[in-house]
Symmetry: C2
Subunit: 209 residues, 2 copies
């Protein structure tokens, strides 16, 4: 019992063809969220969701890859913004690091399918694609490195290579996120997530005298 969900649409007035572009992006992201994997999100399904015919997609995106790429970028940026928002105003850098980790996992758990597509599927990036797509992600990663540096300066974690420490933290939160949205659904809750993050951070503590 499929429901025909083609929506009543007026065509965009003259200078505003860009409106459809945003609607396509939103519909793609929504379908990704609902159906689960990239291949299930077809050009035809996206078009139907927006209420438009398939060829219209090509008015705004060269091909499917470009569309999916654009969605990934937007998810990436969204994740970064969300995490920064959660962390803004926290003065203790160690507490900020902790909160950063929790916010990252929370975002992934709340948006499992975009997270999966962006971080868990293989992208055969060409160099330019990578440089464009990775920018938002790189900014977020740089914030993490800065947070680590602040922790080191405050004596809250042991001196060392901030990049290595940042990778360690990323591995932990990414691991938690993918376990939670993957095969072990339900085995890991927020408490256990917090415990794992705290434990990892404890491992970074300076040696006590």
């Amino acid at each position: 019992v499929e429901e025909k969900t083609t929506i009543e649409r007026r065509r965009s007035p003259r200078g505003e063809g860009e409106r459809l572009r945003k609607e396509i992006l939103a519909a793609t992201q929504a379908l990704l969220l609902e159906t689960g994997d990239e291949d299930a999100v077809s050009i035809r399904a996206i078009a139907a969701r927006v209420g438009v015919t398939p060829p219209s997609i090509y008015l705004h995106f060269a091909d499917k890859d470009e569309l999916i790429g654009a969605v990934c970028e937007s998810v990436f940026a969204d994740l970064g913004a969300q995490v920064e928002a959660e962390v803004a105003g926290i003065e203790d850098p160690l507490e900020a690091l902790r909160q950063r980790g929790r916010a990252y996992v929370a975002y992934g758990v709340a948006h499992p399918e975009p997270y999966r597509v962006v971080f868990m599927t293989r992208h055969d990036h060409t160099r330019e694609e990578f440089e464009n797509a990775a920018l938002p992600g790189m900014e977020t990663f740089q914030s993490l490195v800065a947070n680590v540096v602040a922790c080191i300066e405050a004596g809250a974690i042991a001196p060392g290579d901030p990049f290595a420490v940042a990778i360690a933290m990323w591995a932990v939160v990414h691991g938690l996120t993918s376990l939670r949205i993957g095969s072990t659904q339900g085995m890991i809750d927020d408490d256990l997530t917090g415990y794992v993050i705290d434990t990892a951070i404890r491992g970074l503590a300076p040696e006590r005298p």
Copy 2:
């Protein structure tokens, strides 16, 4: 320039139809390794690889899901066996835990595509499928829990819920593995992997007096 790789084949003698089953499993695993994702591995490609026609697959597997499921099981068991082999004979439980982590990541990095399919894609397991497929993985996880218990008993890590500690370790090594085979290829090497594992373990250490 595609190469026709249909291999000269003799049909199996009378009671040995099972031989083809094993060949199909091996070919599927090999294709998974080479091409990268589950959808690229088609029944037709598997059949061609084995040197047989597509319908022959259905002599041994009810459908494609059953075939992929069987491959997952075998990868799962293989990972477990490999890790156990690396750890066998190590007496210090903390060192065993460390080595277990390294072996896990090493396996994943060496078999990225099977790892991806088993641990990083969504499986809509029915209950029975899960109970069958998860068995080898559960054994491996139980070994990890046992290792954690041994560490606690030896006073090498702080007393606490061994299940939570095991999840923490799993999140770390799974996170490392998926970062290494995913988008950040090349950013994380074996040294950094070892550092992250050691740091996580340090976080589990008992409070010093």
